[in-house]
């Protein structure tokens, strides 16, 4: 059984929480006590229908203001898949949460209000989905009930959207458009009786049939060493195992490997998962690897295949960053850069561009990058990092920036 991670995005009031509530409700993922609580809460608000948005608007502040502040994680499953939804708020000031929520997603679900069509946030979300290389985007034109389920209205919005999409999309990304009504359950898990003119998939069908082929398993092999296992017991006196989660590609017993950045080479002797020995392991698996000879490897080193001629090795490079902190990013400042599990100091030498993700334009001559802004920077690290270009191998191409004094995660970067 696989897991499909979805990020939802939308503007204030376009009914995202209701959509998620509807998905949960129609896949029987809500227990009776929760529905009862929902009924009484809806009644207290003077509503004569189930307010499904109350299922996800969890925090006190959110209930008071009727908005979603932070990334919430929601779970449901079908016989086919387990789904994890990162529900992220659409307010401009919370864009950092959207990037955060979308960082693990394979599908980005973007909501558009049928009455309003494209708004600034729609363009912003499409750009972010592309920046993060999310392979599938589903645009839900919601609240079709409020435009009398008119086909012409949907076509008009789809037409405008596809113009926008053509500017943001990248090769390998698929984008689909669905007319829906979350409030009345049209085209969520059941065909829309109110929109017989729409012959495409329901939202759930789109999710159930999306194949995110094992592209990761075929990417270049990368194994960051997280922890060195040295039991030093009688039974395992000389045992030295390298524990970690394969970030991309495939490793097999007998493969010749190279350690980065030291360049030492060896051969994989065993691949272990607890008491089991494996012949091979692929991206995403947490394993322990042992090598045929004793070499010096420590946490933060990366293991790659020796057959690769060009190994990733960066010290001076450029990257796109999304700034996540109230204190702006300014050139000349030093941060801690964490690539996977490897942490080193990094100096931002220059901010070369600031992107306006809602207009797909950029400006140069940038003094600083503020909270929620996306830009292009040049930086230099103290130690070499074994990162790939994000567009070529996303699972080994991102990093975070940490403020040395507050210890906060202040930025996320994507290697160019």
């Amino acid at each position: 059984m696989d897991i499909l991670r979805i990020a939802t995005a939308g503007s204030v009031d376009d009914g995202k929480s209701t959509l998620i509530g509807r998905l949960l409700y129609e896949t029987n993922s809500i227990t009776k006590d929760k529905i009862e609580a929902l009924e009484s809460a809806s009644k207290r608000k003077g509503l004569n229908f189930l307010d499904l948005s109350l299922l996800t608007d969890g925090l006190i502040a959110e209930r008071e203001q009727g908005i979603t502040i932070d990334v919430a994680h929601i779970y449901f499953s079908t016989p086919t898949r387990k789904y994890i939804i990162a529900d992220t708020p659409g307010h401009i000031e919370y864009t950092r949460n959207m990037v955060t929520g979308a960082s693990n997603a394979k599908v980005s679900l973007i909501l558009v209000d049928a009455r309003q069509g494209i708004v600034e946030q729609t363009a912003r979300h499409l750009s972010i989905a592309s920046l993060l290389r999310i392979p599938k985007v589903i645009i839900c034109v919601n609240k079709m009930d409020l435009v009398q389920y008119q086909e012409s209205k949907f076509n008009e919005i789809q037409h405008k959207l596809s113009e926008l999409v053509s500017k943001t999309t990248f090769q390998g990304q698929t984008v689909s458009y669905l007319p829906i009504s979350s409030l009345f359950g049209q085209n969520i898990t059941k065909k829309a009786v109110e929109m017989p003119w729409f012959t495409g998939n329901t939202l759930l069908q789109e999710l159930e049939t999306f194949e995110f082929a094992e592209t990761l398993a075929h990417a270049p092999a990368r194994f960051p060493v997280q922890f060195v296992v040295r039991p030093m017991t009688e039974a395992y006196h000389d045992y030295r195992g390298y524990a970690g989660k394969i970030s991309s590609g495939t490793f097999k017993v007998g493969d010749e490997i190279r350690v980065l950045p030291t360049g030492q080479t060896s051969t994989i002797a065993t691949i272990e998962k607890f008491e089991n020995s494996l012949y091979q392991a692929i991206a995403g698996e947490s394993i322990v690897m042992t090598l045929s000879n004793d070499i010096d490897i420590s946490r933060g080193n990366s293991i790659v295949l020796a057959s690769e001629t060009e190994v990733p090795s960066l010290k001076d490079f450029s990257a796109h960053v999304c700034w996540l902190d109230h204190q702006a990013l300014s050139p000349g400042k030093t941060y801690l850069l964490q690539h996977g599990i490897h942490v080193t100091k990094a100096k931002i030498t220059q901010i070369t561009e600031r992107l306006d993700v809602s207009k797909q334009t950029s400006e140069t001559e940038v003094g600083q990058l503020n909270l929620n802004e996306i830009g292009k920077i040049s930086l230099r690290t103290a130690q070499v990092i074994s990162a790939d270009k994000y567009a070529e191998n996303p699972s080994n191409g991102s990093f975070i920036l940490i403020d040395e004094f507050s210890n906060s995660t202040v930025g996320v970067g994507f290697v160019d």
Partner: protein, 304 residues
């Protein structure tokens, strides 16, 4: 029934890989981590994951149990067995000691429990051992405030959670850097659901305390739920204990965990019961029923 069987599915192994990765990050990033062990199925799952993460080495941190004194005896027995079985160090600290020291005050009335009190003992234990990271078995599917929790959740000196000051967590990168006095709560099974935990216990053939299975027990009926009778429960005169067949779906204190009527004696039947159950897991937690925001408030005060 067939719709239910369709849903059972398998345990998604990806979840185990993710949790083991988190366990290893804890061991690597912190000087004095600890695993908060309650004796419930979630913390038993954590112990299993820790065992796997460092095999053939031992679990490199202690199991810490905050004993409220209201635990089920079966839980305590199981705890001691598990510590011995895995060779992990076990540290126990008692809520009774906090009460005796005047740091915590016993609640009164028929709903009196020590659930809130254990936060005091936990914070003292963190200070005593200078723990910088405490691993807990909370899951995001349990409750709305928990749905917003990070995997590495930074707490201040007083163990408080501030929803608006949370660090963003991007991709699988975990930032455990903290200042003196701060500590981190770590939730390796954040993305598991109750069903995932049960499927895992089944696939791994893990031992769990006997009270999860159907057994005969003296209970009272209160607020439409079955409460285990014990010396710790403040009963009203008309609450007369009777014996029936029950099991526990979630295991907390005897004073704040309700039993469910059940004849499930093996794990397959338990999984079937969960799938067809009409009440959510935390619906049997009396501590959550205090108010709609009960969990969020407790978390702000240092509860995990």
């Amino acid at each position: 029934m067939s719709a239910i069987h369709d849903k059972i599915g398998q345990f998604p192994r990806e979840l185990e890989d993710e949790s083991i990765y988190i366990m290893r990050e804890v061991a690597a990033q912190f000087d004095r981590p600890a695993l908060l062990f309650s004796g419930g199925k979630d913390s038993i799952t954590l112990v299993r994951l820790a065992q796997k993460a460092f095999f053939p080495g031992k679990i490199p941190f202690p199991l810490v149990h905050i004993d409220t004194g209201h635990n089920f005896p079966e839980t305590i027995e199981f705890r001691d067995w598990l510590a011995k079985e895995t060779g992990a160090e076990l540290i126990v600290r008692y809520v009774q000691d906090s009460i005796d020291q005047g740091k915590a005050k016993e609640e009164s009335g028929k709903y009196a429990s020590r659930n809130v009190l254990q936060t005091v003992t936990l914070l003292d234990a963190i200070e005593e051992f200078k723990f910088d990271a405490c691993i807990g078995g909370a899951r995001r599917d349990e409750e709305k405030a928990r749905a917003k929790e990070r995997i590495f959740s930074v707490r201040d000196d007083f163990g408080q959670w501030d929803a608006k000051r949370q660090r963003p967590e991007l991709f699988d990168m975990l930032n455990g850097r903290i200042s003196v006095g701060e500590n981190v709560r770590v939730f390796p099974i954040s993305n598991w659901t109750e069903l995932d935990v049960w499927n895992y216990i089944k696939e791994e053939k893990m031992e769990i305390p006997s009270i999860y299975f159907a057994h005969q027990r003296q209970v009272i009926q209160r607020d439409g739920m079955l409460w285990a009778d014990s010396e710790h429960l403040n009963k009203e005169v008309d609450e007369i204990p009777f014996e029936t067949t029950v099991r526990f779906r979630t295991v907390g204190d005897m004073t704040c965990t309700a039993a469910v009527s059940s004849t499930a004696v093996d794990i397959d039947v338990i999984i079937e019961e969960i799938l067809s159950a009409e009440i959510s897991e935390r619906g049997a937690r009396i501590d959550d029923k205090r108010s709609e925001a009960a969990m969020e408030k407790r978390k702000q005060q240092g509860y995990f």
